[in-house]
């Protein structure tokens, strides 16, 4: 791995950390609205649909590590969730151009609601508690995250310091 790419990964980790910290801060209140976009998902999907496929595992690991620092959910569940998204994106990219605005927005929306369902499953199975998410909750979460990815996903993918991540290597 080239030094510039290594630095880019470290900076990506910092961006993930900031996204997770802001997420936590926004969702801390009892009455935080359900449409609040999940910034980690926006950032994760924005990169996942553009990065070279072999780098997606690293991306999943870094996103899970950053989120684990700010989440009460168990780290293994976070890693499993991100790996599942990566597998889905890899599969999707074989047939569709997910890097287009609508494509990435749909992916982000699906991931946002899938994430809530996964978190609920982990909570219920581990602790036997937790109200099942309603359809309304899932739809609003999808809409908020999807809309932000639609509008700013391109911008998120080009955050300062992470340009080297999107460079492609061509075999001559």
């Amino acid at each position: 791995m080239s030094p510039s790419r290594l630095v880019a990964w470290l900076i990506a980790l910092v961006w993930f950390a900031w996204a997770a910290a802001i997420d936590t801060q926004l969702r801390g209140g009892a009455d935080s609205p359900g449409w609040l976009p999940n910034l980690v998902i926006v950032l994760f999907v924005a990169w996942a649909v553009r990065l070279e496929v072999q780098h997606l595992w690293t991306l999943a690991f870094l996103a899970a590590l950053a989120r684990a620092s700010f989440s009460v959910e168990p780290p293994v569940a976070l890693l499993a969730g991100h790996l599942a998204v990566v597998m889905g994106v890899r599969l999707g990219r074989k047939s569709f151009d997910l890097a287009r605005p609508l494509g990435r927005a749909l992916v982000a929306g699906a991931v946002a609601s899938g994430w809530i369902l996964w978190a609920w499953l982990v909570l219920v199975v581990r602790h036997g508690e937790g109200d099942a998410p309603t359809w309304g909750m899932l739809v609003t979460a999808s809409m908020g995250t999807g809309a932000l990815t639609l509008l700013f996903g391109g911008l998120f993918a080009k955050l300062p310091g992470t340009g080297a991540l999107l460079e492609r290597r061509f075999v001559g």
Binding site: S69, V72, P75, A84, M87, W120, E129
Partner: protein
């Protein structure tokens, strides 16, 4: 695919060793959380204000908690007329209800006191069980078998005025359906194994080891097992059982062991609750508040290197319980707060109008309720006092859960007096939302809250 499958399985069926290893691998999480510290600085003023408020009320709450624990001690002490002459009474606290072994308790007494298995265990005038095992590795610890145990038997006597006493064998919890419609007056009932030909179907049942139990067994003679109840069940069968006055499955938090004298030692061996002993706590800064989908709530703490913190250890903000450690790694610990659904807490209540504290037992958090309250689910097996309706209560932590000391403030609530499953709304003493410095329980001798 294999990795994903394994991680999914571990997410849903956690393996403690793996969880701990992952938490240690996540040591860099501390650095990552520090990277985002500026986000936390936004609420610095609120943090200072919250710390000031807690500090101002700390002395008052601690005094209240100490009084509560002293009242609990007094309530657990058997009345003098029931204590056989020459016996010592040894106070003990329940430190654990073993998972899957609900009819046993792990108790702790003064570690300089030597006890033998077989001696009776009581709470006030109530008979609770026998000391079944003394831990040879850790002095002052042992296992108590409760009278609710499937194989537990104790001789008993029903006093019938004008006639000779009716002798019984009592032991084992009578399992019964416990749904909303059938709760009625049922609750904690003990099975009667030889109902006898006598016709009397009610009255107090007391221990009387008429079957020729060992000497230690007879020391409990006269202690109360409960009230005899006779009811007709399906098929017209008349069922007699003994309704115990204590919720033995969730409480009690403090018991007394009746022991033979030991030389010129004291006749009453006390045990102080170490809750407010500064040596049992270690400070930790809050790296970040943690949230998750579905209203999950927690904290990530920065731990000093080398500090051993056990899973389940209490985390306090002044005298307030904030939550419990879910998992601790090398430099950080993940904490679930009282707002997080599914957290188990043992509670002890100061109930308005009741002379002694009431052991509520274990409740389970269900997340946030209206107006910043905490929703918890409580299954009451024994009612509170006489009458119906609700009564004001202040809730503190009880015992029986490792890592959670007795007497930390949880909040105020209105408790239903009736038996059954209830949803309580607790107004917490502090929401802890803005705290940036907490204390983690490491227990007496710094044993990591274990």
């Amino acid at each position: 695919m294999v990795a994903l499958g394994s991680l999914t399985a571990l997410s849903l069926r956690p393996v403690p060793v793996v969880e701990e290893a992952v938490e240690h691998l996540l040591a860099p999480a501390r650095l990552i959380a520090e990277v985002a510290a500026p986000v936390r600085w936004l609420s610095w003023n609120d943090a200072v204000e919250a710390a000031g408020t807690v500090e101002r009320e700390k002395e008052e709450v601690m005094r209240e908690a100490r009084e509560l624990l002293e009242d609990e001690r007094r309530a657990a002490r058997p009345p003098d007329y029931l204590i056989p002459a020459g016996l010592r009474i040894v106070h003990a606290e329940v430190i654990e209800h073993l998972r899957g072994e609900e009819d046993s308790l792990i108790v702790r007494w003064a570690d300089s006191t030597h006890l033998e298995p077989g001696i009776p265990v009581v709470v006030g005038e109530h008979y609770v069980g026998r000391l079944a095992e003394v831990d040879l590795r850790e002095p002052g610890r042992g296992r108590v078998d409760l009278v609710t145990g499937r194989d537990f038997r104790v001789g008993a006597q029903l006093r019938v005025p004008g006639r000779g006493p009716g002798e019984l064998i009592v032991g084992g919890r009578l399992r019964q359906r416990f749904d909303e419609d059938e709760v009625g007056d049922k609750g904690m009932s003990l099975a009667v194994h030889n109902p006898g030909p006598w016709k009397r179907s009610e009255g107090p049942v007391r221990v009387y080891e008429w079957m020729g139990e060992a000497r230690a067994g007879a020391w409990a003679d006269g202690f109360l097992l409960g009230d005899l109840v006779c009811e007709t069940i399906e098929g017209g069968v008349e069922l007699r059982h003994v309704r115990h006055g204590k919720d033995l499955l969730n409480g009690p938090y403090r018991v007394v062991l009746l022991a033979p004298p030991e030389g010129a030692g004291p006749i009453e061996v006390d045990l102080e609750a170490p809750t407010y002993d500064p040596a049992c706590w270690r400070g930790a800064s809050v790296l970040t508040r943690c949230t998750g989908a579905l209203g999950r709530d927690g904290l990530r703490l920065a731990l000093s290197p080398g500090l051993e913190v056990g899973p389940g250890s209490a985390v306090a903000f002044g005298p307030h319980l904030l939550g419990r450690v879910e998992m601790a790694g090398s430099y950080t610990a993940r904490v679930r707060t009282l707002r997080d659904p599914g957290l188990e807490l043992p509670l002890l209540a100061r109930v308005e109008g009741e002379e002694h504290p009431v052991a509520i037992g274990r409740v389970t958090t269900e997340g946030l309720g209206p107006n910043g309250s905490l929703k918890v689910r409580w299954e009451a097996l024994v009612g509170i006092g006489k009458g119906e309706g609700f009564v004001d209560a202040r809730l503190f932590t009880g015992g029986g859960v490792r890592g959670v000391p007795r007497g930390l403030l949880v909040g105020d609530t209105k408790l239903p007096r009736s038996v059954g499953e209830h949803e309580l709304l607790i107004q917490p003493g502090t929401d802890g939302e803005d705290c940036q410095w907490v204390e983690v329980w490491i227990g007496p001798g710094g044993e990591g809250g274990r």
